[in-house]
């Protein structure tokens, strides 16, 4: 009887493992796509341009990459056409997907839905935008970069660790798109000059790209969205007051974010508490003394409050809500009131205040 049980269990395990033998692929004959880029092309007949980048190895054993581009009516139409450009078998598994600026302005959801339907493309695939043409970024050779796709992938991975808002993938994009109380964001790259650089963050209204936030605005947005652990912040104080001109770099920031909504007259207040240590300070105050430290805290608070409110006004104007104020408002209203409300309009006319409290825990190793 025991042996029979063992037979059954062995067979069960076999089922699981043998099932993998259905298809076999030799790696030399494959073009494993590292990154895909999608753009809007001119002319209405073939509206989508797809560029794929995959690594190749020459006969001498040298590593290189190859980018192929094709125009088509849909994502998979372009895939078929790209396939016809090479003798290798193109397989998915891309780590990064880039969208061109024009396509993003027109709306991404159809493209993203096509990608979502395909089981070869994982939910963790990184999403980013490119200022200008996304395909060009993959095709262009940069002297300091060996593999553009790998560069962007690793760049996004690191940036996502440092600033939570830059951590974007298919799941996060779709989640915020489908949520009626928040809008998605995507990091924006540019390829002017000799290297690929991060330009900032593009915010969306639904699935359409509306505004570009600069790098310093992106940093502030990060703290307005939610709690941050071990973050960083770079402040150039001359932004605010022309008389002052110094750089301040904060690190090890732990922040606490609280959003308060008054549903009667539709007012919101975002309370941010920061605890940080000073990494760099180029000003004249002796910040190891408590008095000046307090003064510096006050200056940072003022800087953050003013810039946050400016940022929010900019977002309100473009009716984009990446902070997720809608989520908090929705959870304070009844279903009927939320559904009957024109949220976009209410949002752009809402009064949103920001209150920042900064506490400097230390000022580094030296005075």
């Amino acid at each position: 009887m025991q042996s029979k049980v063992i037979i059954v269990i062995t067979m069960c395990c076999l089922t699981v493992f043998v099932a993998g033998c259905g298809e076999s692929n030799a790696i030399e004959k494959l073009a494993v796509v590292e990154a895909g880029a999608y753009d809007l092309s001119e002319g209405s007949e073939n509206p989508i341009t797809t560029t794929v980048l995959f690594p190749t190895v020459t006969k001498e054993g040298k590593f290189d990459t190859m980018a192929l581009t094709a125009k088509g009516k849909s994502i998979h139409d372009t895939f078929l056409k790209v396939q016809n450009l090479t003798s290798l078998k193109i397989v998915g598994g891309q780590g990064t997907i880039l969208f061109g600026e024009d396509l993003a302005k027109k709306g991404l959801i159809n493209v993203v839905k096509s990608l979502r339907r395909d089981p070869e493309i994982g939910i963790r695939v990184k999403f980013a935008m490119v200022e200008g043409n996304a395909g060009k970024l993959l095709e262009k050779k940069f002297p300091s970069i060996e593999d553009n796709a790998e560069f962007i992938y690793l760049f996004l991975e690191r940036a996502g660790w440092q600033d939570k808002v830059l951590f974007t993938n298919q799941y996060r994009f779709l989640r915020d798109y489908y949520d009626d109380g928040i809008d998605p964001v995507l990091p924006v790259f540019s390829y002017e000059g000799d290297t690929i650089g991060l330009k900032g963050v593009g915010t969306f209204k639904g699935d359409r790209y509306v505004t570009l936030l600069t790098f310093s605005e992106t940093q502030i947005l990060n703290y307005l969205i939610g709690n941050i652990k071990n973050g960083r912040l770079m402040i150039a104080m001359n932004d605010l007051e022309p008389g002052q001109n110094y750089q301040l770099s904060l690190s090890n920031i732990n922040s606490d974010n609280d959003k308060i909504i008054n549903t009667k007259n539709m007012q919101a207040e975002i309370k941010v508490k920061l605890k940080a240590s000073v990494l760099e300070y180029t000003g004249t105050m002796d910040i190891s003394k408590e008095k000046y430290q307090k003064q510096l805290e006050g200056q940072i608070e003022k800087y953050l409050t003013t810039n946050s409110e400016k940022l929010i006004a900019k977002l309100q104007q473009s009716q984009s809500d990446p902070i997720g104020i809608g989520k908090v408002v929705r959870n304070h209203l009844t279903y009927e009131r939320w559904k009957s409300m024109n949220w976009n309009k209410t949002y752009s006319n809402m009064s949103i205040k920001v209150q920042v409290k900064v506490e400097l825990t230390n000022s580094g190793k030296s005075i």
């Binding site: 009887m1 059954v8 069960c12 099932a19």
Partner: protein
């Protein structure tokens, strides 16, 4: 152990709890978050708890039959009052529904497997594997089935730990503060959620092989299912936004797809393959139920013949559907029939028992009068 010992050996309550958990139709869990969101609207995951209460009432009926029938099998109870030939059409209906449902669950699993992982592999391979395993288990009898499942479920359970890796993306704000708003059809939704608990009704045939105090295992096994359904669905509602759940065919698949540990990424593959054991459990127990019912109709035929007949029917049925929509239509229809059986059969048997008790009492009174 001698062959005759099977009849005397009774199932341990713990083994039974695991068996009852494993036979419940687990495949539904892969669509459960979307189904609850679609039919019940916002915070639809709560419906799982309400349906759980209904299922408990159903189990209570079965437990009552066991108690009032003093351990007799339901066939003995029924046939003590009603002639067998009257019951044959009903038995045949039950057999058809159970075999059909088992095959459809198997086929739906294979379809999902093909969509996600092995699009090029012919479905017939999987069906052959399931059928062979089913044969091995069924010929061993219910004791073998139970012991094998206890081991196999140990493979399935650790997968839940992967959910811990998703907590960083979990947010209570996504639950919304609305309850059951934006739903479509509560009745249809209840049927769909109920089908996740199906399988437990086959326990009506377990009476001859269980201990006296086995009924608590029924509740424990069912509670186990509730726990697992609730934990994954709850996770889904906080991990995805509401409309995202609505737009995802298999949200649980996406949920596990997102887990990434340094030694394992895209864990949904592993999870779903291991889940085959649970599908096997559900399929086999329905076949076993059909086998027992057939044996009751014609006891003189060798059990091996019935097993082959049932598996052959199941095999053919599983190969018929050509598309996911097709298989879903059939499995919905058959699970509705199975829900009907799950409620109507115990109520009917209770009715029969009641008549028997009345008659006994009358007999006793007339005896007393003499």
């Amino acid at each position: 152990m001698k062959a005759g010992d099977h009849l005397k050996e009774r199932l341990h309550p713990f083994q039974l709890s695991i068996l009852l958990y494993s036979i419940q139709n687990g495949l539904v869990v892969y669509t459960l978050p979307r189904v609850t969101a679609q039919y019940f609207g916002t915070n639809g995951w709560l419906s799982i708890i309400f349906i759980f209460i209904l299922v408990n009432i159903n189990i209570l009926l079965i437990a009552t039959i066991y108690k009032l029938g003093k351990g007799r099998s339901i066939f003995e109870i029924i046939e003590a009052t009603i002639p067998k030939w009257v019951m044959i059409p009903i038995y045949l209906f039950i057999i058809c529904v159970w075999i059909g449902l088992a095959s459809m669950i198997m086929r739906e699993y294979i379809f999902i497997m093909k969509i996600f992982f092995y699009p090029a592999l012919p479905a017939v391979y999987f069906v052959i594997f399931f059928t062979l395993l089913g044969f091995q288990l069924l010929t061993g009898g219910i004791h073998h089935i139970t012991k094998a499942f206890v081991v196999l479920i140990c493979f399935v359970m650790p997968m839940l730990a992967l959910l811990l890796y998703l907590i960083s993306e979990f947010e209570f704000d996504r639950f919304t503060s609305f309850y059951f708003k934006g739903g479509t059809d509560y009745f249809e939704g209840s049927l769909r959620v109920y089908s996740a608990y199906l399988g437990i009704e086959v326990s009506m045939l377990l009476f001859p092989v269980v201990d006296k105090k086995w009924t608590k295992s029924l509740f424990i096994g069912n509670f186990f299912s509730l726990f697992i359904y609730l934990i994954v669905t709850f996770m889904c509602f906080g991990f995805f936004s509401f409309d995202q759940v609505l737009n995802d065919l298999y949200p649980i698949m996406t949920l596990f797809e997102y887990t990434e540990v340094s030694f394992l990424s895209r864990a949904e593959n592993l999870c779903f393959c291991v889940f085959a054991f649970k599908i096997l459990a559900t399929t086999v127990i329905y076949y076993w139920g059909a086998q027992k019912t057939l044996e009751n109709i014609a006891g003189k035929v060798k059990p091996g013949l019935w097993i082959i007949l049932i598996l052959a029917t199941g095999f053919v049925l599983a190969l018929i559907p050509g598309s996911v929509a097709h298989v879903e239509k059939w499995s919905n229809w058959l699970s509705n029939c199975a829900i009907l059986i799950a409620w109507a059969l115990p109520i009917f048997v209770l009715g029969v028992l009641f008549i028997q008790m009345l008659r006994n009492q009358m007999l006793r009174e007339t005896d007393y009068a003499k």
